[in-house]
Symmetry: C2
Subunit: 431 residues, 2 copies
């Protein structure tokens, strides 16, 4: 038995609104932020994790993390590590906390971060990166990490275990390929709404020169602008180069169908977040109307229950997952298993603060142990804020290269945490 | 111009878990709580409101309210009162806060409370109870209070204004009838899961003697127990007396269909929250399978987007609204308008701390100015904690009787707020 004696939270905010990095039709001036948590026992590694937010309200997210302190501090770490679904089930099932969602919003994201920090410890003590820890797990154990509640019409434990078993023999081969070939990345860096046309073209060209084989542009603020920007990008990339667009929930259903019809002649890899992330029926109507253009959503998908509905009703042809939106690794395993069951490819949402670092582990795991495929799949990549992480992602030649550092790559550089601490760090105290 | 100079929040918790009041299949030991907010200008009335929670996490809800302080303190109260959708749109549309939902969970409920507190001031300054303030409003103005974003496939402003206009001439007559006849109530008091069979029968009999014409029992923990308890209630009430049941999200879809089939021979008015409140498709499957037994949900319905889907897909035949779950009066107007559009009766969720006091205003307004009907409608009533409110609900002869006190009946008695303040009030400091 080892007692968890350390617990700390931090409110860390980067002043990204100064440069319009990360600007889109819904989020004009984000200050990319992280509500950070770390905990651990004496003489053992600390588990690190965070919830990504875009500025105001990051303090509320920290308060939600603090509400979980009594569930963690003083607990037997070894007991928690021995059953990696126990803490997840305890926190998502806590009747009083559950009232605050249920399974959505600030409280759910806080639970996700705490669950992820425990996974960070688990991986560090196994001396493996998280993706490899998961990829090496027994199929029955993996299937047991998933909460089938409210998704049992689609998945059950036996069926999921069978899927993991079917990929077990070939895991080693895919692990080698992952290390030798990397995993496809796509970049959103050229396409933020705040950028000029010249900057868009220059960054698109640079993205292709760097080896990216897909890019994504933000759309949804002005249709004429979007047509012009997409035309410029298409001229720069050439025919057949996959270009996705992301409307960040800006449209009504009918508006989405009109707008997508105006953009689709330029060729769209997928259209992301056309409308409210809660609107399963709306996405289904849009997907039906604009097919074969693919509709996607997921970065604001509240939980596995919404994922199941989006997938079973054919509302999306591409799914995003987000490492910090749902209840941690466990719920993301459920969502990956659902996507596999319904035959929908996953293009993880990333960018933000530490999202690339976190979600890569899930995508690598999916390739090695679940879907077995890198075809028509790629992890989003945005080239900023990585310098603040102890184990930043390695993206070269348009690919993510798997880390071998034990853990989940979520630890932030202490100097960065101190300088960007809100409101007392150097960056903000001087503002 | 009057500047808002007062702002206060409080964490108030009642130790209801001691008596198992409020116990159900999902919530075995709630401590009914309120995250309270009040604000106002000098020499004017304070606006009061709160978010209901069931204990742990009430501090997180208070933190979310505090995150809204800079949006309210120092603002021109008269400007906010002049356009009662402005603050609602500003807060729900704030891009940085929106990331924490969007439009769901802790942050969304905090926005609802702040919007409701502004409505409290509006009603007080009009010297009218909130229900009457709303009922007297111009149809165009009422229609303008609704945010049609993400519900435009069902509703638009012109259509909603036309509905309000069609009821305008007969408003006065219904106002008189409301004051003379009251509004139907139903009670959940007999049916909490923690109660013995004897207590259930005794409280059921008392409810009928008090004039209630509907009751609701909690179910979902044990099927045999539910059959026995429902049989006892049916024997006590007699044939034809409406008895609803509430599973508080405990079931999977298939399980719900089985369980409801076992209970339906005893006669069910409706079955509430059979499964996850996010599961539109699941409710639709259950409703189809168990018809003509009616399925309902709503107390945990995150927002108007989910409401629209539940209604348009025939997933519910009865809808609950909750005064403290969504973004205040404005979003509840949208949900009431949606229910009316789809012809589904609303049975508001109440109980909790101040939910009866708050939601009565919406039901009265719906009768006077929107649906025009009290048939097959009733407001939930639970007889506890009303003594802590300055203007408690008046429920006699199984009916709510409309208050004439200006405001929204949300102000708590100061002595109660102090004694039950968490963790420093007398109740908790001594625990």
């Amino acid at each position: 038995m080892r007692v968890i004696t350390h617990w700390a939270t931090r409110d860390v905010r980067f002043p990204t609104s100064k440069k319009l990095d990360g600007s889109d039709a819904m989020n004009p001036d984000p200050d990319y932020s992280a509500a950070c948590v770390s905990f651990g026992a004496e003489d053992g590694p600390l588990g690190h994790s965070s919830v990504f937010t875009i500025g105001r309200g990051n303090d509320v997210q920290v308060a939600a993390l603090e509400a979980l302190r009594p569930y963690v501090l003083g607990r037997d770490l070894d007991e928690l590590l021995a059953d990696m679904s126990a803490l997840y089930l305890e926190l998502t099932g806590d009747s009083q906390l559950r009232w605050l969602g249920p399974e959505k919003g600030v409280m759910h994201m806080a639970i996700g971060a705490v669950v992820n920090a425990l996974w960070d410890i688990k991986a560090k003590e196994a001396h493996k990166p998280l993706w490899e820890l998961l990829s090496d797990m027994d199929p029955e154990e993996l299937a047991g990490l998933i909460d089938y509640r409210y998704i049992s019409t689609a998945l059950d434990r036996n069926r999921v275990a069978a899927v993991f078993r079917s990929q077990q023999e070939s895991r080693a081969e895919r692990k080698d390929r992952l290390r030798n070939e990397g995993y496809p990345a796509y970049t959103t860096s050229p396409g933020w709404l705040g950028y000029s046309d010249d900057k868009l073209v220059r960054l698109t060209r640079e993205a292709m020169e760097e080896g990216f084989t897909r890019i994504k542009l933000k759309v949804g603020a002005n249709k004429d602008d979007d047509v012009r920007r997409l035309t410029l990008a298409r001229e720069t990339c050439g025919e057949g180069f996959p270009i996705a667009v992301d409307a960040n929930q800006r449209w009504e259903v009918d508006e989405a169908i009109d707008w997508i019809s105006a953009l689709s002649p330029m060729g769209l890899d997928w259209v992301e977040e056309p409308t409210s992330p809660d609107d399963v029926n709306g996405h289904a109507a849009i997907q039906k109307a604009v097919a074969p253009t693919r509709v996607s959503t997921g970065e604001h998908m509240a939980n596995r229950v919404v994922a199941r509905q989006l997938l079973e009703s054919g509302a999306v042809s591409v799914l995003q997952i987000d490492s910090a939106r749902v209840a941690g690794v466990n719920e993301n395993l459920a969502i990956l298993a659902l996507a596999h069951h319904f035959g929908v490819p996953v293009f993880p949402h990333a960018g933000g603060v530490g999202l690339c670092e976190a979600v890569q582990h899930l995508a690598f795991f999916d390739y090695v142990a679940l879907s077995g495929s890198k075809d028509d799949r790629a992890i989003e990549y945005v080239d900023h804020l990585h310098e603040h992480f102890v184990d930043p992602v390695e993206v070269r030649a348009g690919r993510y290269w798997p880390t071998d550092v034990p853990g989940s790559s979520q630890e932030m550089v202490p100097e960065s945490m101190n300088y960007f601490a809100f409101p007392d760090g150097g960056e903000w105290a001087s503002a």
